[in-house]
Subunit: 115 residues, 2 copies
Amino acid sequence: MPEDCKVETALEILVGKWKPIILYQLFSQGTMRFSELQKALPDITKKMLTSQLRELEYHDIVHREIYLQIPPKVEYSITEYGMRMAPLLQAMNEWGMSHIEHLNELYGAEMQAKR
Amino acid sequence: MPEDCKVETALEILVGKWKPIILYQLFSQGTMRFSELQKALPDITKKMLTSQLRELEYHDIVHREIYLQIPPKVEYSITEYGMRMAPLLQAMNEWGMSHIEHLNELYGAEMQAKR
DNA sequence: ATCTAAGGTATCTTTTTGTATACTAGGTTT
DNA sequence: AAACCTAGTATACAAAAAGATACCTTAGAT
């Protein structure tokens, strides 16, 4: 029965134009400040960065640590629970890489993946 | 390096409001006609069903078989290549189910997953 | 007095997604 | 002759997501 299909739940937390790269950064760098994330993702606006981080925080994937200082300091990191997502992300990453190859075989190497 | 992160490629083919359920149907039912898919997904419009199927077809996940009859008959099925996605979909499904549980523990069982 | 730093909000506009409704084709049924 | 069937397409519209830009806070340095 379709109600048992929870693929969408996984998608829900991953979808959003920037979430995968944000997670990639946090997984590989460990703890990062807001401004460090901004530097790593030059094209993201503060608004987007904030909203994506808040969604990830809601889902207990990302932890937000606020230091009461001036100027402000806020650090983001993957939660312990979030770490459990690593194998899934890796599986998706691997599938993604092989799919790009597959598309190249089908349509030629000059083409980019598109929908 | 972020360019090596291909999670988004996997997302690309799964994103679209109806793709996961369409795939679920085709994986579990095998071959289905356009109208059967419509019956299984009562709230989808023809336009959406068509566009989602075409995207999946482009990615070589779904095969479209046209019978030159009147009234028309078109059958959809998962390609052999598409079958290779099954483990990933299952992994996502399982993660999704456990994540719903986790959210329930955090926020209480009455709440739905949200972003 | 003014400027800077850091981590945001508030507003507004644009782009992307999704929905609603009507229409098509040619043969079959009423 | 009119209506129905299937698998769509065309057009118009609404809603959601993303982007651009301006503004806020507060302590210390200039």
